[in-house]
Symmetry: C2
Subunit: 337 residues, 2 copies
């Protein structure tokens, strides 16, 4: 193994000079920088990560905790993880993957052993057992999602409340007067995962503001449940003409079920989805949708963490504004004769 002393000897300087060339923490003459750089390349030198971590008290590794549970959409998690890794690399950091399953002890372990410098925690719940722990850790963290008590923590997410509102804005603009939200499985609400509740809040508030008739239904993420939900909905609200779907896996089945029930989309019924853009774009009928900006969230989360690691202050809450893209699943409401 090539070590820093080998490089130093080869370049005719001291080890500390090599270190300073690498870190840029002290000024080095152009000439020395060049010679050292050449030696590094020639010898194929790579600093030993452990030694570096020990001496500098920085591992240059971030922990990413991903959720495993039902009711969350896997491709979104993946997209997010990839974005985190990519952005972290751009800041010269690597990413250690932890699963939700490891729980609090996992966080304690990687932080306590100085394996990681900072943490990103996904799928935060309203009363998340990890929150008090994170407050005690000496390492910065960024949460994806907002717990009930977020003061003192750094959180980021799509502004789901605004997303719910934007959907209603759009439907109301188109003249719809009776709208429904088909949401996540009820277990997601029960464990109080904030985002589902917040979407619903925004949806209801906006509907009230416009004076619309509105209805709210959790739904399991299976085609069968989707079909049943559509039947119930049409039965209970015969004059329903606008639907918001916030449940990725069943977006397509829902649309399909409405059609089979004799509702043309968008002629008789408008549908807005809250889901990743690709899903909306590649559906059989391209869907008007509010995007889940997984990539943006991942990138911003890492950037926030880097700021904190640099000792800078960052905003406690970052809410990304929703972006609604109109496609072929929504149309103006025309009163039947």
């Amino acid at each position: 193994m090539v070590k820093i002393t080998d490089v130093a000897r080869h370049a005719g300087v001291s080890p500390s000079t090599v270190s300073y060339v690498l870190s840029g923490k002290r000024s080095i003459s152009e000439e020395t920088r060049r010679r050292v750089g050449e030696s590094i390349r020639e010898l194929g030198y790579r600093p030993h990560a452990g030694a570096r971590a020990l001496a500098s008290n920085r591992s240059n590794v971030l922990a990413l905790v991903i959720p495993l549970r039902s009711g969350i959409h896997v491709p979104v998690v993946m997209q997010f993880a990839v974005s985190v890794v990519t952005t972290a690399r751009r800041h010269d950091h690597d990413v250690l993957l932890l699963t939700q399953e490891e729980g609090e002890e996992g966080l304690r372990r990687v932080a306590g052993s100085s394996l990681v410098d900072a943490l990103i925690v996904m799928d935060v719940q309203m009363r998340d057992a990890r929150i008090p722990l994170l407050r005690t850790l000496d390492r910065p963290a960024v949460l994806i999602g907002f717990p009930a008590e977020s003061a003192g923590l750094t959180c980021i997410d799509l502004d789901f409340k605004a997303a719910g509102e934007v959907c209603v804005d759009h439907l109301a603009d188109l003249g719809h007067r009776c709208v429904g939200l088909i949401g996540s499985p009820s277990e997601v609400y029960e464990r109080e995962t904030g985002f589902a509740q917040r979407t619903a809040d925004g949806f209801m508030a906006a509907a009230r503001r416009y004076g619309l008739t509105s209805t709210l239904h959790p739904c399991e993420a299976t085609p069968d449940a989707a079909r049943a939900m559509v039947a119930t909905l049409l039965d209970e609200h015969p004059d329903l003409t606008g639907v918001v779907v916030h449940n990725e896996p069943i977006v397509a089945p829902i649309v399909d079920a409405f059609r089979r029930a004799g509702r043309r989309v968008p002629d008789d019924l408008s549908v807005v989805a809250i889901c990743p853009d690709e899903l909306a774009e590649h559906a059989e009928l391209p869907l008007t949708s509010v995007a889940i900006p997984a990539e943006e969230v991942g990138k911003r989360a890492v950037e926030l963490l880097m700021e904190k690691l640099d000792g800078h202050e960052v905003p406690e809450a970052t809410l990304l504004p929703p972006r609604l893209t109109q496609r072929a699943s929504t149309a103006p409401h025309v009163n039947k004769v």
Copy 2:
């Protein structure tokens, strides 16, 4: 920060004794072990990962390289990654996440800097640029998938050739005489990702053995492409009664398209999918399928790596036998009058 000397002082022993208690590499009296254990708990001691890595030349971290490209099914990758993390933890290791994108330089970096002890590389292609590199690294690796030249490497995967055969066995047993394989997008074949080709080989070989009429079609992973494919297939092979689908995202669209084309499944046409079990189980019509054992592959990959890290010999090739589960999408072929 609590360090080993603190624990040693607290327990009234030397630091080396604490170390040996932790590693078990030398015998320690019951009494000492107990006292040290208590001090560790009381002080909340966690060994510093970097210091440990430096002194022991082991980081207890594995690298996992995940693919990003089109044509691979995200949930399978995720399932696999989770299985790797879970199994690694069981062996007291953590997992560093790398993306394909980082390429060879990424592997070189994490191995060269001793950030990781070993590597798991997913989505290996027939002539993969990373193979020669892996051979030169001083760290053990396990590949998911088989490159063209696998001698000297440790590879593991589902036995896709056998999977292709098993599907044909099943259809032939049911009396089908004309069968088709709907495969991955042609780009997957073009970049010579082994698994697609091997499934096709197994399929064709078995069909030949049974004397069946057979046909082979790559297909893009979009519903539109699926529909078009079905039309082509029925046009070119009017007497087709058995289909194998090896392309996760369009399993459902394919079945749907056959139905719309007037073929009842399984009455007129039997369909076997090669896909994760959940996908097959939760389809509208539960599908007869050969499972992609992502979890098993992940677990085995880590176990192989652990063996190698312990200096043990392991088999170069591990081919997991396919498991076909009959569900509702296949039925005996009945000759029409």
